[in-house]
């Protein structure tokens, strides 16, 4: 990561001023997989957040005479066993899945960055915080998730409402079991950056500890955090769907991609296609987010950057 700061300094001295951001974007665009991922993700996000407003079918409306239809022009993905339009349900389910992914990612990245900076910057808390991180890394995530969701679903739903309650619970529990990787990466970066000359320079002109963290250290760990964040979205979406697939996630009338898979698995012989749609959506999102993460890592690491 020290090289990123070098990158900034060099870029500032160049006659034709090129910011780090434009450099990163230039490099990112070269990564074919990453651009592909960005396009796919953009399409899915628009489809999931915007299209349901125009789409003629209600994902919750039963229409029993038209149940169990295969794909037709009227229902592009067919209908389910209650005659609900599968495409509408996949879209609305994606909204939940992606929202959970993004919210859990934000939570885990904030927590991980906080722990990482504290551990890296203040030597006194380094040992305890890193032991805590190791401890969390030893906890088997999915069993704990299952237990916590099963036990706390009802009280939290009573307090926050049925859907918001489970949303908060799932986001919280995914975030709290996933921040460790970010914390480790950030700590390592902070330890290296702390010894850089520009931090010494800042200190020597009397900059306080908080200013050094916010103005000098934080911007330099952001690149590592971005990569961790993109991978965090992917793992959060997979975990949420796994919970729903084990029927311990969102309630039955509140579709997510995992829940749709769970509902479809009992109709595996009569309607195998209904497994494909939500599964392909999960895979596409995870794949595009991972490609974007790969591209970001390559673009943000000047060592890998080709000239030009």
């Amino acid at each position: 990561m020290t090289d990123i700061t070098d990158g900034i300094q060099v870029a500032d001295e160049l006659p034709d001023h090129r910011s780090l951001r434009s450099d990163v974007w230039r490099q990112f665009r070269r990564h074919r997989g990453a651009m592909f991922g960005l396009v796919i993700l953009a399409i899915i996000i628009i489809a999931v957040y915007v299209v349901p407003f125009f789409y003629p079918y209600d994902p919750f409306e039963n229409n029993v005479p038209e149940r169990n239809l295969g794909p037709t022009w009227k229902h592009l993905m067919g209908t389910d066993n209650l005659g609900r339009d599968v495409l509408a349900r996949v879209l609305i389910g994606g909204r939940v899945s992606i929202s959970v992914g993004i919210a859990a990612m934000l939570f885990q990245v904030l927590l991980g960055t906080l722990v990482g900076i504290l551990a890296g910057f203040f030597r006194r808390v380094d040992g305890p915080l890193m032991r805590l991180t190791d401890l969390f890394l030893s906890i088997p995530q999915l069993p704990l998730l299952l237990v916590v969701v099963a036990l706390f679903r009802d009280p939290i739903q009573e307090r926050f409402g049925e859907n918001l309650g489970i949303f908060l619970l799932v986001v919280f529990i995914i975030g709290i079991t996933n921040w460790m990787q970010t914390a480790r990466i950030v700590r390592g970066d902070v330890l290296a950056i702390k010894e850089e000359e520009f931090v010494l320079a800042a200190r020597s002109i009397g900059t306080g500890g908080r200013k050094i963290v916010t103005r000098h250290i934080l911007p330099n760990v952001l690149s590592a955090v971005t990569v961790a964040a993109s991978l965090g979205v992917a793992s959060a979406i997979i975990t949420e769907s796994a919970l729903s697939f084990l029927s311990l996630g969102f309630p039955a009338d509140f579709p997510t991609w995992g829940r749709l898979l769970f509902d479809a698995k009992d109709l595996i012989t009569s309607q195998p296609a209904r497994i494909i749609w939500p599964g392909v959506m999960i895979s596409l999102v995870v794949m595009s987010v991972t490609f974007i993460g790969d591209g970001l890592r390559d673009a943000l690491d000047p060592k890998l950057r080709s000239n030009g």
Binding site: D134, L144, L151, F152, I268
Partner: protein, 340 residues
């Protein structure tokens, strides 16, 4: 080296104790208790006596201490006694063990019955996954941007992106429903007779799908990581030195690069164990294997807290042991780690 190992082991013990405390405190919030499943005709004061006799009115710390003692002293002692038939200071009776609320039998015995199924699938998937992933990762890195690398990257990306519950269902649709090659669920009642080929063949047939699904999942992330690690090492100066002193390509790769780049892979293998266990739980649910994961799901559904507590502790124990093993192996492979 010995000091390093001892320090790691000493750290693993409090880790396990704290994890068991965390699990205990979480489960303490659970609404159910064994008295709630009893018939309604039982009068309230007897209900209270039952709660009393099960130690439910004790403070939480006492309950945790009692549970930890059962788990860490009585259960290993019983295991030792049943293996050797030697009792030290009186045998451990079943009443001195962790009793499941739903089956009324020792929880560890049930886990012991379910363990082989889980270990078959999990162990085979880990072994195959490692055997497949490392050569692919190394070769992809060595021939970076070649056709093999591009295909390999794409396939591992797909394996990485498709969750186990999706690939598993797809495999059932294609290979069980359409082609009818493999059974769609795992038959645990099948008793494998190693003397009969047909019996082994049935076992192989029912293992193929769950093991390959879990292998694909394990191998993908491992291959991606191996590739990145080998790529890091290929650009190092020691590789150039090795080549410039005239060593053959195979020596450079197999001896110099491999040794260095597989060190972080060892850590990843251990750190990915919680994920692999999660994958195993889902695989068991997809293929209806009645292993540990399925037992956990059922016990959660029944509110059988001692069973849930024991299984989660067991999984945490596995994870901590793997981490410990990885730390020790890492320290053995990379001497720099030991000094601090």
């Amino acid at each position: 080296m010995a000091r390093y190992v001892i320090r790691r082991v000493l750290f693993a013990i409090p880790t396990l104790l704290i994890i068991s405390l965390i699990i205990f405190l979480i489960l303490d919030q659970a609404p159910g208790d064994p008295a709630s499943n009893l018939p309604l005709t039982i009068p309230a004061e007897i209900r209270e006596q039952i709660r009393e006799s099960l130690g439910f009115n004790e403070p939480i710390w006492t309950q945790w201490y009692n549970w930890t003692k059962l788990m860490l002293v009585n259960e290993p002692k019983h295991l030792f006694e049943s293996a050797t038939d030697i009792c030290i200071g009186g045998c451990v009776e079943n009443s001195d063990r962790i009793i499941s609320w739903s089956s009324r039998s020792p929880a560890v015995d049930t886990i012991y019955q379910r363990l082989p199924q889980t270990l078959w699938v999990l162990g085979l998937a880990l072994i195959f996954g490692t055997l497949i992933a490392i050569p692919i990762g190394v070769f992809s890195a060595y021939k970076q941007y070649s056709v093999f690398d591009n295909v390999g990257t794409f396939v591992t990306m797909i394996g990485f992106a498709m969750p186990v519950y999706f690939t598993g269902l797809l495999a059932i649709v294609v290979f069980s429903v359409k082609l009818g090659w493999f059974p769609s669920f795992y038959d645990t009642t099948h008793d494998v007779q190693f003397s009969s080929w047909s019996s082994i063949w049935i076992q192989i047939k029912q293992l193929v799908m769950p093991v390959s699904i879990l292998t694909l999942f394990n191998a993908s992330s491992l291959a991606r990581f191996t590739r990145a690690s080998v790529l890091d090492n290929l650009n190092q100066e020691y590789v150039r030195t090795a080549r410039s002193k005239g060593l053959g390509e195979s020596t450079v790769i197999n001896v110099h690069v491999m040794r260095n780049s597989l060190i972080p892979v060892v850590t990843l293998l251990a750190l990915s164990l919680p994920g692999v266990l999660g994958g195993a739980i889902i695989t068991e649910s997809v293929f209806r294997i009645n292993g540990i994961g399925q037992l956990l799901l059922v016990s959660i559904g029944r509110g059988d807290l001692p069973m849930v507590q024991t299984i989660t502790f067991f999984l945490a124990f596995l994870t901590v042991m793997f981490n410990l093993l990885a730390d020790v192996v890492y320290g053995f492979l990379d001497p720099r780690i030991r000094y601090d």
